[in-house]
Amino acid sequence: MKRRKMWTTALTLVLALTCLSFRCGGGPPEDQRRKLVKAADDIAGGISAMIDAKRDLAGKGRITQDEDRRLTQLLTVANDADGAFISRLKSTTVIDASNRADLLSLLSKVTAAVNDLNSSGILRIGNADAQKKLSRIMSSITAAINILAQLQTAAMTPTH
């Protein structure tokens, strides 16, 4: 049990450091788009990991069919929101006044979908271990969301 606790602590530390790595990557202003792209990629990767973990938990009977169904629906909404954000980024070369509002709107949809995934999906899972496992993956997605939020308040704010 002690080992398990120690391991969990170590893993939490790893995830926390991963979050910090995002924040240490200050770069030139032209990197605004790149930061957004990286965060969108992180979210896509986090959702992929969440799907794998969900399948694993469902296979072991740790989540009910209803929970599985709800998670699938919420993950679909989050994935679609990230997809729309990525599509917009593909057609954006420079973030400026012409596309800022659109990007912010899409970004807020990603944030809302991920928050919903957490509050209506993960936090309602009955099995404590299953909930904990998915919450840990959720923290990686939240880290990426935090980057988006930072960019929303700082880098994407017009400076001139």
Binding site: M6, R33, V37, K38, A44, A53, R55, N79, G83, K133
Partner: protein
Amino acid sequence: MDWITIIESLLPLLSENFAGAGDAAELADIALKLIQRIKSQSGMTTDEILARADLTVAQNKIKLAEDAAKLNPGGGTGGATGGNP
């Protein structure tokens, strides 16, 4: 200092040393994959990252559609609604 490389190399070791940790070991694999994904971004152009993100979203969509079809038999898109006579 590339601490991500250090963590990346330590994770499998932790997994081995805590054999029997069960779910924790699986979590380590997931964490490792995510770290590798983040790390690999530094060697990619923005367009390459964007293409990968796009591909991952498409793959996620397929996986989620498969899961939805399993969980909602008959409620899928254009699934069989009748049997052969």
